[in-house]
C-alpha cells in the first residue's frame, strides 16, 4: 500500500512559493513536516536535514568567484563590456544573446559547463552587454525593458547550459540515465545517450533564438524606433 500523506510536503512548498512567503522558511517547514509525517522523530528530522545540508556544501563553492567579480566591477568591467558593444554597429540585444546561447551550448557540449554561469559571466558581461546593445539601438529603456533584457540574459544562460550539457557523455545526468536503465538490464553506452541529446539541443537553439529575435522587434516597437 502506497502512502500518499508525505505529498503534503509538496503541497506546502507549492503553496509557500505561490504566496511568495520567504523560501528559506517554506523549505524548512516543508522538510520538517515531511519528515514527521514519514514517521521520524523531531531530532531525527533535524539531523537528516543537517546531514543533507552538509553533504551538499559543494553548491556553496561557486561563490568564491564573487570577490573577483566585485573587484572587476570596481574598475568598470560592466562599463567596458557596454562600451565594446556600443562600438559594434551590428550588435542588438537579441543577436548578442543568440551568440552567447551558441557559445554556451557548444562549450557545455564539450564538458566545459562550469566555465560560464550567472555569477561568472552573466552579471559581469552578458547582461550589461545586452543592455548596452538594446540602449544603443532603441535609446533610453524603460524599467520594464531593462527587467526583460536582464531576465532574458539569465534565461539564455540556462537554456544554453541545459540543452548543451547532455551532449557531453561524461556528465552527471547521462551517468544517472545509464545507471538507472542498467538496473533494469539495459546496458547503454554513454555516447549513445549523448547522441540523442542533439535533436533537442538544435530545437532549443531554434526556439530560443527565434524568441531573442522577437525580443529585438518588441523592444523596437515599444520604443518606436
Amino acid at each position: 500500500m502506497i502512502d500518499y500523506w508525505p505529498l503534503i510536503g509538496i503541497v506546502l512548498v507549492v503553496a509557500g512559493f505561490a504566496f511568495r512567503l520567504n523560501p528559506m522558511l517554506v523549505v524548512t517547514a516543508s522538510a520538517i513536516v515531511t519528515g514527521l509525517i514519514a514517521g521520524m522523530g523531531p531530532v531525527e528530522v533535524i539531523s537528516t536535514f543537517g546531514k543533507a545540508f552538509n553533504d551538499n556544501r559543494i553548491i556553496a563553492i561557486v561563490w568564491i568567484v564573487l570577490p573577483v567579480i566585485g573587484l572587476l566591477e570596481r574598475y568598470g568591467l560592466q562599463q567596458r563590456a557596454a562600451a565594446v558593444i556600443r562600438s559594434l554597429r551590428m550588435a542588438t540585444a537579441g543577436r548578442l544573446l543568440i551568440l552567447y546561447l551558441l557559445y554556451r551550448q557548444l562549450t557545455a557540449a564539450i564538458g566545459l559547463h562550469s566555465t560560464a554561469g550567472h555569477p561568472q559571466t552573466v552579471r559581469p558581461l552578458v547582461a550589461p552587454m545586452a543592455l548596452a546593445a538594446a540602449e544603443k539601438q532603441h535609446g533610453e529603456l524603460t524599467e520594464a525593458d531593462v527587467e526583460e533584457v536582464k531576465a532574458q540574459a539569465a534565461a539564455t544562460d540556462n537554456v544554453g547550459l541545459f540543452f548543451g550539457e547532455d551532449i557531453f557523455f561524461a556528465i552527471g545526468s547521462i551517468v544517472l540515465i545509464q545507471a538507472t536503465l542498467a538496473t533494469y538490464g539495459y546496458d547503454l553506452a554513454p555516447l549513445e545517450l549523448a547522441l540523442w541529446a542533439i535533436p533537442t539541443a538544435i530545437a532549443a537553439f531554434v526556439i530560443h533564438g527565434f524568441r531573442l529575435l522577437m525580443l529585438d522587434r518588441r523592444l523596437g516597437r515599444r520604443l518606436g524606433s
Binding site: P6, V27, G50, A151, D157, F162, D166, L176
Partner: protein
C-alpha cells in the same frame, strides 16, 4: 591531494571574512544579522564535518530563521561610483577583460590538462573535482593579477565580494536548502507516491498518450523537486521502463535521454530550481524574483512538446 576539502576551507575563510567585515560595518542597519548568517556559513564550510548531524541541523534552522524573519539585508561597503567606473573603464580599455578571463581560462585549460596530460595521474588533484579545483586556482590567480596591476586597497576583494553576496542574500544558500529538502522527500517515499499517481492516469493501450504522460510527468515532477535527477528514476520506474520500453518496445536510449531533457524543460519553470531561476534574479537585481522563470516559459513549453514528439517518433521507429 587538493580537492573539495581545500575548496571548503577557501570558501569558509571568505565567508568568515564577510562575517567579520559585516560586524565592523557601522553603516549597516542589520550588521549583526548578516554577520551571524555568513558566520554560520563559514562554520558549515570549515567545521561541518566536526559538529555532527544534529549540529548541522540546528545550524540550518538558524540560517532559515535569520533569513526568514528579516534579520539580514543589503550592505553598502565603500566602492567606486558610476562616474569613476566609466573613467576607469576608458583609462584601462579592453585590457580589463584579461583578468576577467583568468577564471574561465584557468578552469578550461586546467580541466583539459587534467584529462589529457599526465597531470591527471599524479594524484595531486581529487578526481572528478578537477574543474572546481581549477576554478579556485583561477580565483586566486585573478586576485593576484589584479593586485599586481591595479593595486586596490588590501580589503577591496573581500568588501566587493561582501557587497555582492549581501545583494544576493539568502538566495545564495537556498539551492543547498532545496537539495537537502530533496533528501527528506526521498526518505519519506514521495517518489513512490508520485509514481503510483502517474500510473493511475495512464490510458491503456495508447502508446502516444503514454509517451505524453511520461514527458509531462518528467516535467511536472521535476518542477516539484526542482531537479530532473530526482524525477528520472521515479518516472523510469513508473512508466519509462515497464510501459514504454518493456510493453511497447521503445528504444531505451531514446526514452532515457530525451525523457531526461523533458525534465530539464520543467527545471526552467520552477522556483524550486533556485540556483538557475531565483539566484540570477537576485544577482541581476530584478524587481520580480520570478522574472527569469517568466522569460523561460515560452521556450520551455514548445520544447517540451518537441521532446514528447521526439520520443514518440524516434523510440518507436
Amino acid at each position: 591531494m587538493i580537492g573539495l576539502a581545500a575548496l571548503y576551507v577557501l570558501a569558509g575563510i571568505m565567508f568568515a571574512a564577510f562575517a567579520v567585515l559585516s560586524t565592523l560595518d557601522g553603516s549597516h542597519p542589520k550588521r549583526f544579522g548578516n554577520a551571524a548568517f555568513w558566520g554560520l556559513m563559514a562554520l558549515s564550510l570549515l567545521g561541518g564535518d566536526l559538529i555532527g548531524d544534529l549540529g548541522n541541523g540546528l545550524l540550518v534552522l538558524a540560517l532559515a530563521g535569520l533569513a526568514g524573519f528579516g534579520f539580514i539585508g543589503r550592505s553598502t561597503p565603500a566602492t567606486t561610483g558610476l562616474e569613476e567606473r566609466e573613467a576607469s573603464s576608458q583609462r584601462l580599455g579592453n585590457r580589463l577583460f584579461l583578468p576577467a578571463l583568468i577564471i574561465p581560462v584557468t578552469a578550461l585549460l586546467g580541466t583539459l590538462a587534467y584529462n589529457y596530460t599526465p597531470l591527471g595521474e599524479t594524484g595531486l588533484i581529487e578526481p572528478k573535482r578537477e574543474t572546481y579545483v581549477f576554478l579556485g586556482l583561477g580565483v586566486l590567480l585573478a586576485i593576484g593579477a589584479m593586485f599586481a596591476w591595479l593595486r586596490p586597497p588590501a580589503l577591496a576583494p573581500l568588501q566587493e565580494g561582501r557587497r555582492l553576496i549581501d545583494a544576493i542574500g539568502w538566495a545564495a544558500v537556498l539551492p543547498q536548502m532545496l537539495a537537502s529538502l530533496g533528501v527528506l522527500f526521498a526518505a519519506a517515499g514521495i517518489g513512490d507516491a508520485i509514481g503510483a499517481l502517474t500510473r493511475m492516469v495512464i490510458p491503456d493501450g495508447s502508446v502516444f498518450l503514454t509517451v505524453v504522460v511520461f514527458g509531462l510527468g518528467m516535467a511536472i515532477f521535476t518542477m516539484v523537486m526542482g531537479n530532473a535527477f530526482a524525477a528520472f528514476p521515479v518516472m523510469a520506474a513508473a512508466i519509462g521502463v515497464p510501459l514504454l520500453i518493456q510493453q511497447y518496445g521503445g528504444d531505451p536510449a531514446v526514452v532515457g535521454a530525451i525523457g531526461m531533457l523533458a525534465g530539464f524543460c520543467g527545471t526552467l519553470m520552477t522556483p524550486m530550481a533556485a540556483n538557475f531561476n531565483l539566484v540570477p534574479a537576485a544577482l541581476l537585481e530584478l524587481k520580480d524574483q520570478y522574472g527569469v522563470i517568466r522569460a523561460q516559459v515560452a521556450t520551455s513549453l514548445p520544447l517540451l512538446a518537441i521532446n514528447i514528439g521526439l520520443i514518440y517518433v524516434a523510440a518507436f521507429r
